[in-house]
């Protein structure tokens, strides 16, 4: 349990985000946001409650909501489209999630653990999802026939008449140079640091991968220079 001062700091970080004033303009407690919210139908979650807690600066209950409730939001932004005050409860939840990660909250670690495989794919390849991830053993609830033609995945992907899509480990072929540029973005924007706070083992794996890819890129550049000299 955090001290009041820590909870106050968490709230200060939330309202310190430049989007905060965009996303919170007042609240009539009308509940339109909750009435239209998909997550409110299935979870103990209410966008109206989130807005009210922030609007009334209830730092203790804000902290409490960050333990679980904020992770229920589906981020569809229906609430934002409906709010008469032009609030964005979904946008506020996004800020709160970022702050939960910054403060290394256990709730964030627990919630994100199953997300590791996707995170690894995204950070290292610039693709969120790949054909080899969408297989029956990963998604048994999608049924035995998630594809209508059986066959080797590589061959089936080769049968897509678009060159960039004939991949198995990424959704499309991303050039090495592009991936290396993306690593720079991750580093310079603190994303890798966030990842380290959440999952040190995953961070180590990703760091090794990035080092390897950068070396590959350096080698490729050298090869290009040699070719040009010839």
């Amino acid at each position: 349990m955090a001290t009041y001062a820590e909870m106050q700091q968490i709230f200060d970080d939330i309202r310190g985000d430049f989007r905060y004033d965009h996303d919170l303009n007042g609240c009539l407690n009308c509940g339109i946001c909750t009435a239209t919210c998909p997550s409110a139908q299935f979870y103990d979650y209410s966008p109206r409650e989130i807005v009210q807690l922030l609007w009334t600066e209830n730092v203790e209950q804000i902290y409490d909501a960050m333990q679980e409730k904020i992770w229920a939001c589906a981020q569809c932004m229906t609430c934002a489209a409906r709010c008469p005050f032009k609030n964005s409860p979904g946008g506020l939840v996004a800020i709160m999630r970022e702050v939960a990660i910054k403060h290394e909250m256990q709730s964030a670690k627990d919630v994100l653990r199953p997300f590791g495989r996707v995170m690894l794919k995204l950070i290292t390849t610039g693709n969120q999802l790949s054909p080899d991830m969408i297989q029956p053993d990963h998604f048994p609830d999608w049924g035995p026939n998630i594809q209508k033609v059986e066959g080797d995945l590589q061959v089936l992907r080769k049968a897509i008449p678009v060159k960039t899509l004939q991949t198995v480990e990424t959704a499309w072929e991303v050039s090495l140079k592009t991936s290396v540029e993306m690593y720079t973005i991750w580093e310079m924007t603190g994303v890798l640091k966030s990842l380290e706070l959440m999952d040190e083992n995953l961070f180590d794996v990703i760091e090794d991968f990035i080092d390897e890819k950068r070396e590959d890129y350096e080698d490729w550049l050298e090869e290009q220079e040699e070719e040009d000299d010839e």
Binding site: F18, R19, T36, P38, S39, Q41, F42, W71, A74, M77, T78, A81, A94, R97, A100, I101, A108, V111, P114, F115, V118, M119, L122, N127, Q128, L129, S130, I134, F139, D141, W142, G143, I146, Q147, K148, V149, G151, V155, L156, K158, A159, I160, P161, V162, K163, T164, L165, T167, A171, E173, V174, S175, T178, E181, M182, T184, I185, T189, V191, S194
Partner: protein, 468 residues
Amino acid sequence: MSEQTPGNHNQNGEGAGAGTMKPGYHNTDGQGIAGHGSFFQATDLSQEEAVKATDWVRKHVDRRTIDLGDRMDDVREHMYELEKDGQIIIHRITDQHEPATVQTLFGWDKQVPTKQLWHHKSCGQCGNIPGYPTSLLWFMNKFGFEPGKDYLDETDQTSCTAWNYHGSGIGNVESLAAVFLRNFHQAYVSGKQHGHDLGHFYPLVHCGTSFGNYKEIRKFLVESAELREKVTKILGKLGRLVDGKLVIPEEIIHYSEWVHVMRNRIASELQTIDVSNIRTTAHVACHYYKMVHEDAIYDQSVLGGNRTAIITSTAQALGAQVIDYSTWYDCCGFGFRHIISEREFTRSFTMDRKIRVAREEANADVMLANDTGCVTTMDKNQWIGKAHNQNFQIPIMAEVQFAALACGADPFKIVQLQWHASPCEDLVEKMGMSWSEAKKTFQEYLKEVEAGNIEYLYNPELAYGGKV
């Protein structure tokens, strides 16, 4: 006596009178309704004056003609100012892009380029529903577009990373902005290696999540000098500035907007199959029209302009039946994080709020969507419904896939329906094609693929910067 249901406007002097009005009744019988309780005063308006005073109630409020005053900013106006100040470069839509003009929610014009397009792919579509991009490229070829000149599909691009951000909270506005600007800078310069000017290819965003994210991030970039300063350093390090400036697109364009503006040409020039017997329902991606909602296309001729025109306009143009259902406004249940790690929410929501309703209310032959997450969610989560005796299914696909089928595209080679889990074969059969024959032909083609005889929609070398 007129029928007096709540909301009716009683104009015939038979109102209930002061003090006895019921909620929702608008009393115009001259007895006055000004104020409440002890403040009540009779207005003493004549019948004619009363009707005039309440005219606005009866008037159809058209959001596309309403004067928004200072209540809604058009981000493009601020972009033009920033460009004038020499702070940014706007990737302009020019006559070369042969743009079509459409209207958005508040009646603002939006230019949708129809040619010289840089395909900005979607990780979910490419990984899971490849028939989306293939159908789109197939249409462009059918219209005689020249690959490498009229469109480009290349490897120098990443996902927008917003799926991850919305799902996990890992990432931030800076990283999203840097990714956006890096990808769109590449679109801006991509023509050079093919012998064209800067800005030749205009980005066409395939993904709904990317579309919403890019629109939102563009607003933040235009509004925040601090954010621009931060990302300028990053883009500078990547060599992704032009004359030291950020490149920001004049419009963010979603692929379904291209389909929307091309729908009549698709129907008149390419359609070969009558789909008037097909009952379609539409699910438009939340991040298409609920995020930065002022930028979504609305058209008075489609659903009275009361809902975004996307998808429905295409179904209408093709002559299919457009069937309404009560939960059209609900999201699909994707949830970003939920489809991966809280799938009981995703599948319950999509089955209860979308599939069941489209089946029981609309008796739909197909649900058309325009985004990765929506198609994946609604397509893949039907089988598990059997565990709860939810024995109903509906084919799910993008409107561009449906349009391609209606224009005679191969259900497997082009529309790539083999990757779908929902019963798309039922739709194909109802459209008059033999699923089993098409499948047999495709399985024969797979042998050719194994032998290295692969058919392409464009010269593969183009993807790597090569010439046609």
